[in-house]
Assembly symmetry: C2
Homo-oligomer: 385 residues x 2
Amino acid sequence: MLNFSFENQTRIHFGEGQIAKIAGEVPKDAKVLITYGGGSIKGNGVYDQVVDALKEHTWFEFSGIEPNPKYDTLMKAIAIIKEHNIDYLLAVGGGSVIDGTKFIAAAALFEGDDPWDIVAKQQAVKRALPIGAVLTLPATGSETNIGAVVTRDGNKLPFMSPVVRPQFAVLDPAVTLSLSDRQISNGVVDAFIHTMEQYLTYSVNGKVQDRFAEGLLQTLVEEGPKALQPEHKNDLEVRANIMWSATMALNGLIGAGVPQDWSTHMIGHELTGTHGIDHGRTLSIVLPAVMKVCKEAKHDKLLQFAQRVWHVSEGSDEQKIDKGIELTEDFFKRMAMPVRLSDVDLGEKDIDLLIEKLEAHGMVALGENQTTTLAVSREILNTAL
Amino acid sequence: MLNFSFENQTRIHFGEGQIAKIAGEVPKDAKVLITYGGGSIKGNGVYDQVVDALKEHTWFEFSGIEPNPKYDTLMKAIAIIKEHNIDYLLAVGGGSVIDGTKFIAAAALFEGDDPWDIVAKQQAVKRALPIGAVLTLPATGSETNIGAVVTRDGNKLPFMSPVVRPQFAVLDPAVTLSLSDRQISNGVVDAFIHTMEQYLTYSVNGKVQDRFAEGLLQTLVEEGPKALQPEHKNDLEVRANIMWSATMALNGLIGAGVPQDWSTHMIGHELTGTHGIDHGRTLSIVLPAVMKVCKEAKHDKLLQFAQRVWHVSEGSDEQKIDKGIELTEDFFKRMAMPVRLSDVDLGEKDIDLLIEKLEAHGMVALGENQTTTLAVSREILNTAL
């Protein structure tokens, strides 16, 4: 196991009806800005529950945070914050709304010239408005972690700071019953691949981390497809297991003390930035190719993955590994996700631009050993054709 | 899954050499009281590392906190705290030192008449001195949780308060290399049974919690006996896996959203309070009997435990369950732990007093369904003869 420091200070309220808890979590004298997306929370009752919980508070609202939240959209919130002296942000939505709210929180108190430098120049974020989160789409883990991703002019870039970690997060699986199949699929696969990025590297004998990761992967494999089946459409237990898995997949815990490889995400970000493909769907395309191209470096973990997550027991080690990759692709297909670039109408002609973007964003040595150069990323994209 | 709220705000520094981190964790202007036990930390270099890290700080020390820390011992620290205006406590030791320090932290600022009321009358602890912890014996999880157990006149009683949760904890597996075999055994079995108390109940389909618990159990089963083997005596990876398992076993995570049954601990506390038996050794005696007596209520989880933790695949469900219990006892024996009252020279004649003590302490309806009455506890103790 590698040395590590770990903390996660977000207070979690999990379960049906827990949105009411925000009444006690947001300071009574706060001036709150509720941030949300396209308005689906008004159709599924979440908005009403939030407003009811804040009936003793002073609050304003800011809507329209889109998937892959855009810098220009987010900066519009700053004017509202200044006008009303907002001092608390309540993000109500999925990862994009929470990520966008983290950027707003940091930009509102940013002391540099241009808040875009937070992501473009990775300028340190030392202060931010406090944030609470009501999660509506389990996927990114943003509700309890310190990271966020923001997009501007086709550039999708991350930043991290402990000061943007939500102070509390409400996870009510009942609010996810109104999600579309596509949202469920994207979320389950996103959480699956967050887990893989912290697991599928080289072994450092971190037995707890490995088993926790494998437990999340097995749970997502079991529960994800169920959430798409008519007979489980309203199964709150399925939604609860998915929701808790997604939060645990990226709260820092399973990645503490082990190497990580975020190359699938970094390559996926370019697919989203350039072609607007849903985040989760870029990952289901890229991961199988990463598993194939980096088979040697990841050999031991690929074998363990095949044996423990997929219970593959027959054949040579090589055959077991290949079977594990095949079963992973099958799982993505059962989640109605694309697994090849051709599934989203992209081809060989599109690879050059993606490689250029990776280079422009400094993504020239990805992977747990920094050996995924641009040439290797090209091989990965070619393998994903 | 049941509704739950979860938080754990302790910052963890894990790995060899991390004791140096306390220099940055303890406020520069704090007046620190280092609390410890019998002085083993002076023999194994831990004391020197702590003192070196605090060379810019003002600090005092209080030693002599014994296993199952005694009220009378702990109250002696209060005088030192008042004399020197101590405003930060640094516990350096195992669960007893950290538990004792939690009581000191609460007693120092207690506003009632008698600090013993904190445990005897469960008076709410609203304020406490801040605590940091340097863990030397992985076992109790006290280093990141809100609980503590204190003993007075043969009464071993718990209290809980979020204000006594350590602000930070240093977990350096290298400092555990100097532990005795008996300390290692006690710690591994304590962590194993903490996990079982949050796992072996009735199923609420908490898939993540179940798999995390099973991951901890499997890791302790693999690594615990290794730590006693000469060829692994200095194996830091083994110690790291044990240490991280013990912390995760009782930091609140695996118990969030699932029923719990602390009857093994409550019955065990009476064995310690009355006969001075090591905490871990009371648990290895009581748990197998709880598994046998409560077989019906715990049927599904006992079966899952046998299959997933022990990989039992043959026989009827009943046979699998029995095999799982048998393998658990074998594991305790491999850890050189007692599994019967007769192993610690107790017999039928001693049961009446234990039952009286349980009654006096209000432990009359234990278990996940509150069905472990005094009569059932008696049956458990008879089964453990």
